[in-house]
Amino acid sequence: MADSVGRQVDSINHATEEDEKKHEIIGAKGEGKELTKEEKQRLRKEKKQHKKNKKDDRGPPEKEKEKEKASVPAPSKPATQSPAHKAAPVPVNASASESPVAAEKPAKSKAELRAERRARQDSERASKQGKKEGGQQSTSSKPKATPNELQPVVKRLPDHVQVDDPVALKKLAKKLERQQVPLRSDYGYKVSLFSHLHQYSRKNPPTQQISIPVTVIHPSIVRLGLQYSQGIIAGSNARSVALLHAFKQVIQDYSTPPNEELSRDLVNKLSPYISFLSQCRPLSASMGNAIKYIKKEISNIPSQCKEEEAKRILQECIDSYINEKIILASEAISKYAIEKISDGDVILVYGCSSLVNHILCEAFEKQRKFRVIVVDSRPRLEGREALRRLVKKGIRCTYVLISALSYILPEVSKVFLGAHALLANGYVMSRVGTSQIALVAKAYNVPVLVCCETYKFCERVQTDSFVSNELDDPDDLIVTRNGKTHLENWQTVKSLGLLNLVYDVTPPDFVDLVITDLGMIPCTSVPVVLRVKNVDQ
């Protein structure tokens, strides 16, 4: 116990040493000198080291006494932690790097630390083995399970499809706590087949738990998150565009902290925002691709670029992304789609897809004679919005609910569907009900055309709608008719579960044609497009 206290004293001493060094450097900066790249790198290395030491500190004492743990973070926190530090890459600590610790830690030798680390890993592995045998749903094979240093490249399951695994939940909770993002709790009884997904209630938005003023999360992101969770902004394109605009605002208000580089720090700043947004509503494939693009652009900013210049470049990148991938893409898709609309057609559309509405409006302007059948479904009733837009243009429309589908299909000559994402095996992920429409259309031999921009193509593969989906608020299914609300107390009935799915996947056999901004392709050619895109980048 004595030497553990001694170690803490050492760390505190070290902390004050670090502090002095920092003050020196800040002083130097105050004189108007910019930190050189090497100095920044050195500072970064020292920070990493310090974090490592703190972790090692916490390691053994954790197993011994809680009290000491409480005392260690308290003094070291004010000395070392600042917003910039918190954003520093933590995974560096997790990796088994052999960086020299001896210089900072005279009390412990390198070998002892390594032995301690290995002992800790062994114990964790043992506990994990026990859990695995317990028959719990385990995450994909962890690299820690392999005894040697070589870690195979493993694809981890995303957090939002592991809700019934307590280990994954704990990890997520820890991560959110570190990023100071509120954790949203699930609501209501979940149908067992979908218990691995989140189910939130619209009445408890995550913004309730955020204090005002908010320091970590930018206000435009908070507003965006609220708009997502309340369903004010809905639809794949709308969400992506809103996200990109919010990021533009964030970049505008961003200022590089003194010892950091914009290209690294900004990416780290965005992580808590993204966690917050995925707490409000799980990210869509299009949003994921947009975020990947932004992160790539940010990390490609040359380090000698001035902040104003870098910000301008990023704003331009975002603008051109929106312009090319969304606006111009929809123009190109309309051009191809109009070739497929002939006079006298009866076109069936489902729900409200901004792209399909745009195509129909363009075709109408180009004097094509057709009429539209809008199919709608509860609880979202998005078809009404589509109906409103089309009727405003002057297009002849009919409105049916999805239960009347097989009645109306013999009249239909073509079906136009929008997509939320196109998966790498050719499956189309779209609003729930789409696969039903495609199935019945196939049975009636009616061609099914899916319209999708290429930025919604994702590398994921899925063959059913269970594995990865989104559960909406189950209270949406409660409806009052003739003054009676039958499902009002559904929570009290133990055997009753309300399921409000948002997406489903349609197999490629039911889809005849996919219209993208690159042209008309069969559903099975999605991997070709992805390959071509990767080559371009």
């Binding site: 497929k340 055309l449 005849d512 008309m520 099975t524 070709v528």
Partner: protein
């Protein structure tokens, strides 16, 4: 310039009279000749003239292959950067590549024949539709390989092209029987495999071929018989029909009928579209492809 086009249309039809050459190959040959004698001053002018020539050729012969072959020819010769400052040098480069293209496609039928004949087993009974020179080449190769097989050919009205095919097969000493178009369902249980040619291969992986092919494909699917299509790669065309109605009229009817007749509803279409779900494999000079791989190849060819 117009005179030179008029000069070469008869040349094209003359070449067509040589029955062994595909109409698309003859068209491309005449396009190449036209290019050689073209007097334009700019590369853009050359391209425009070529496009106009292709249009004129399509008007004489409305087959899909002419249009696809023409477009591929144009892309092939003008696709890479022509950085030579001198126009005549550029033209020479284009002509060279045109010759290369022509040579490649003249050899394509042989390549297809070599690929496909291994799928014909000894003692097989083959069903084919109408008259296709590629199918003939395949059967020729199989016969040369000392395989014994019998062939059933449909009559293929209205031009009785099947009878011509039967005559040619007879000359190769292959036992052949001519059946009525309406007897396809009847004969399907006797045959082991179906091989047809194609006038055009579309983006979805489906094929456009003589009318009656779609029926044959549906029957063979119902009987679970493999349905093979043999086609050269210059027949790949950038069309995507959704159903029979979606095939453009300029391919469905013969060129002279399109010009003279007012109400096309009274006319019989000459071709139909077979969707990819009914096709087992496609044999091309690019290799043996599944229908879904056609789109991949098309992207490579056209982009």
């Amino acid at each position: 310039m117009n005179e030179s086009i008029i000069l070469f249309i008869p040349l094209c039809s003359q070449i067509r009279e040589d029955p062994d050459v595909a109409s698309a190959v003859a068209a491309i040959r005449s396009l190449l000749e036209f290019l050689k004698r073209d007097q334009s001053e700019t590369i853009l002018g050359l391209r425009e003239n070529q496009t106009k020539a292709i249009q004129r050729l399509e008007e004489t012969d409305s087959s899909v292959a002419v249009s696809s072959g023409g477009e591929l020819f144009l892309r092939f010769i003008s696709l890479t950067s022509l950085e030579h400052p001198d126009l005549s040098q550029c033209k020479n480069v284009m002509i060279e590549r045109g010759e290369l293209f022509l040579k490649k496609i003249s050899l394509s039928r042989g390549k297809v024949g070599k690929l496909c004949h291994t799928f014909i087993k000894d003692g097989a009974k083959i069903l084919t539709h109408s008259s296709s020179r590629v199918v003939l080449k395949v059967l020729e190769n199989a016969a040369a390989d000392n395989k014994r097989f019998t062939v059933y050919v449909t009559e293929s009205q209205p031009d009785s092209a099947g009878k011509l095919m039967a005559q040619k097969l007879h000359n190769l000493n292959i036992p052949v029987t001519v059946v009525l178009d309406a007897a396809v369902g009847y004969i399907m249980e006797k045959v082991d495999l179906v091989i047809v040619g194609a006038e055009g291969v579309v983006e979805s992986g489906g094929v456009i071929n003589k009318i009656g092919t779609y029926q044959m494909a549906v029957c063979s699917k119902a009987h679970n018989k493999p349905f093979y299509v043999v086609a050269e790669s210059f027949k790949f065309v950038r069309l995507y029909p959704l159903n029979q109605q979606d095939v453009p009229d300029r391919f469905k009817y013969k060129a002279d009928i399109l010009k003279t007749v007012k109400d096309l509803n009274q006319e019989h279409p000459m071709i139909d579209y077979t969707p990819p779900s009914l096709i087992t494999l496609l044999f091309t000079d690019l290799g043996v492809l599944t229908p879904s791989a056609v789109s991949d190849e098309l992207i490579k060819l056209y982009l």
